[in-house]
Amino acid sequence: MGEGMGESTPVRLRVNGVTTALVCPPERILLDLLREDLNLTGTKRGCDLGTCGCCTVWVDGKPVLSCLTLARLVSGRDITTIEGVTPASGLSDLQRAFVDHGATQCGFCTPGFVMTATALLRDHPHPTKPEIERAIAGNLCRCTGYIKIVEAVAATAEGRP
């Protein structure tokens, strides 16, 4: 029911498997909470308006835009950020492929692409190139021209480096 204006009752958020009780006013955006309260700065703020995909995280395993998500509306759900899909040491196969294929240049878009593409490969382990292109259509990259990104995802799917 109603939650008071600017009220600061703590909410419980489960991020990368860890549950934290946080002060979270109703107007708090998930992206801001991740970066500013939890120091999870791997998730990037690009446009802040839904038009770039840099801020992609998973809610219950599904890629969504954290810049257009009210933090309170995802309490009780499972939130995963780029920090949560990166192994404790080294890189995931997909991250390695991004490096090897030159799919990351300035790198600002990379966390968003990795979140989207990791979910794609989990749900569809053998996507075609058009399927990869469709899946990443909400992530913008101003450096690579996308070809190397598609190649990195395809190479990971085929199990070749």
Partner: protein, 330 residues
């Protein structure tokens, strides 16, 4: 960008939602996926002190061939095989909204009531302030048609035209009960870019209902935009038709969005083809008439003359395709 404070309400039933809305109206907005509302709030466009979140209202969920709940995500709709084979036009439109990331959150109800758009409106607060605010938010004049006292912001939802041609209806709940409104009469020329639909301030869209006849129709959607993902429609043409065994037109409907302040049907024009064997000459006549009637203004990325011309081209292509009429090639 941080948002100004508001109170967030999370009702769990339709009745609770609309009684809360009745008490708060007009000082509230519903929030479904938030993919339209939150960018607007970030730009401080008509921010309200209360948000009623529809997330927990389970009656707003569920997809069948008769009914789609208002909280169904566009991403769910576009991947539902049974729905997709029954209503091709609706699914084509859903799959072309924004991007997969936006469609993961964006809903059917939110798409029907997506805010109208204008180059002078969809801008940051400092941008709008420096130019001088406009009628639709904080100001008292229109920058697009300054001689008029109305708003010409463009209707930019992709689903509504495809639902209107199927004669689908929305089920609406309010503090005084429920009613059904045809999608085609949810919006019309009597409104403008501000008074953009005929729902009362506290009314909630519960679901979209499809009449049995909708399943006998073939439908399609053609969208004009600059980039094949991300961009709102600069023009959206939905058609639906049924023909007899010998090719005679039994039913034909056309709705055009992305051009004016509302998605517009052209029943007077499409009626002329009913009972006829369609020819390319008749299809061209229809397309030319639509091109002459529509009045886009200069408030989106593409020039109005171009959008108008393309309305003729897209209507011709879509109607010819759906009725199986070969276009002459040169």
């Amino acid at each position: 960008m941080h948002l100004d404070p508001f109170e967030l309400h999370r009702p769990s039933s339709v009745e609770e939602t609309v009684s809360l809305a009745g008490r708060l109206a007009p000082a509230f907005d519903y929030i479904a996926g938030g993919t339209d509302l939150l960018p607007n709030y970030k730009m401080r466009l008509n921010v309200r002190p209360n948000l009623i979140a529809l997330e927990d209202v389970s009656e707003l969920r569920g997809i069948s061939l008769d009914r789609v709940g208002a909280m169904v995500r566009l991403g769910e709709l576009e991947t539902d095989p049974a729905f997709g084979s029954a209503y091709r036009g609706v699914v084509e439109a859903a799959a072309e909204v924004a991007t997969p990331l936006v469609r993961a959150s964006g809903t059917v109800g939110g798409n029907l009531l997506v805010e109208t758009r204008c180059f002078f409106f969809n801008q940051s607060f400092p941008w709008r302030k420096s130019l001088g605010f406009c009628l639709k938010a904080d100001g008292d004049k229109c920058h697009v048609v300054p001689q008029k006292e109305k708003c010409y912001a463009t209707f930019s939802g992709d689903l509504a035209p495809t639902l209107a041609v199927l004669d689908a209806e929305v089920e609406v709940a309010g503090p005084d009960g429920r009613r059904r409104v045809p999608v085609a009469s949810l919006y019309d020329a009597s409104g403008d870019g501000i008074q953009r639909h005929h729902l009362r301030p506290s009314e909630l869209i519960v679901a979209v209902h499809f009449p049995p006849e909708a399943r006998t129709l073939r439908g399609s959607y053609r969208k004009l935009r600059i980039r094949p993902s991300f961009d709102f429609p600069e023009l959206g043409v939905a058609v639906a038709a049924r023909q007899s065994a010998d090719g005679g037109v039994e039913r034909l409907a056309l709705s055009v969005g992305g051009l004016e302040t509302y998605p517009r049907r052209f029943d007077d024009l499409t009626r002329r083809l009913v009972g006829e064997r369609p020819t390319i000459a008749k299809v061209r006549e229809l397309a030319d008439a639509v091109r002459q009637l529509v009045r886009p203004v200069h408030n989106t990325a593409l020039a109005p003359d171009y959008r108008r011309k393309m309305a003729g081209v897209y209507v011709r292509r879509s109607v010819a395709e759906i009725l199986g009429v070969a276009e002459e090639t040169r």
